[in-house]
């Protein structure tokens, strides 16, 4: 079962990268970048900025950051300890 955070992360990915997919169609473990979604390093920057804007969490350009951006599940695992399973609370 998906958490609220995962639903929100899927929505953030689809919206910020303007994917022609529904959030629930993203595979949890499929590579976000360099895979079938056709996303590249420009999109990685867009996603990093969207995560910072919407969750208040900065993804650093290091091994931890790159692992977080690997797939939906990686991003949820990265965000969960930082924002909780419900995702960010409205300001």
């Amino acid at each position: 079962m998906r958490s609220d955070l995962e639903d929100k992360v899927r929505d953030t990915i689809v919206r910020s990268l303007r994917l022609k997919k529904k959030p629930e169609e993203l595979e949890a473990d499929a590579p976000l970048f360099g895979g079938s979604l056709g996303l590249d390093s420009i999109d990685a920057l867009e996603l990093v900025l969207a995560i910072e804007r919407e969750y208040g969490v900065r993804i650093q350009d290091d091994g931890v950051g790159r692992e977080a951006l690997r797939c939906v599940r990686g991003l949820v695992a990265f965000l969960e300890p930082r924002v909780g399973t419900d995702g960010p609370r409205p300001a």
């Binding site: 390093s41 420009i42 990685a44 920057l45 990093v48 900025l49 993804i59 350009d61 950051g65």
Partner: protein
């Protein structure tokens, strides 16, 4: 300074662009990887003024974006040449005419991996003429 004969010692040489497609001819101030202020004089003899527009010469807005992108590339000082990958929020607020000296100011807003984003503006005699955000891919790449 004549952009066709740049000072070989100037940081302009870090830019892969050459005349007639060099749209920075003077670096006024630079903090590498952070910000830059540069200038470009649009000479009345520029070829594009003949067609843009006959009897009403005007610097094309896309060339002001190119000024912003080249200035940002200079701030990155990427030896391979940073390549323009995305343009956002470009606005052209006042006409730029033959003889105008455009001062372009860009500051780095974000970086992740090989991708950098700069936002900034162009001014002529202190008046805002254009603004926008450019995203560049540094290192080897195909865009641009």
């Amino acid at each position: 300074m004549d952009p066709d004969r740049p000072d070989p010692g100037a940081p302009l040489e870090a830019l892969p662009h050459r005349p007639p497609f060099r749209f920075v001819d003077e670096v006024l101030e630079v903090s590498p990887g952070e910000r830059i202020e540069a200038a470009r004089v649009f000479r009345p003899t520029e070829d594009f003024f003949r067609g843009h527009f006959p009897g009403d010469p005007l610097v094309p807005g896309v060339l002001l974006v190119e000024c912003m992108a080249q200035a940002a590339g200079l701030a990155e000082a990427d030896p391979g040449g940073a390549r323009l990958a995305r343009i956002e929020g470009a606005r052209f607020l006042r006409p730029v005419r033959p003889g105008d000296r455009v001062v372009v100011s860009m500051r780095r807003a974000a970086r992740f991996g090989p991708v950098v984003r700069y936002e900034g503006e162009c001014r002529v005699e202190g008046s805002l003429v254009a603004e926008g955000t450019v995203t560049l891919r540094t290192g080897p790449g195909e865009a641009g």
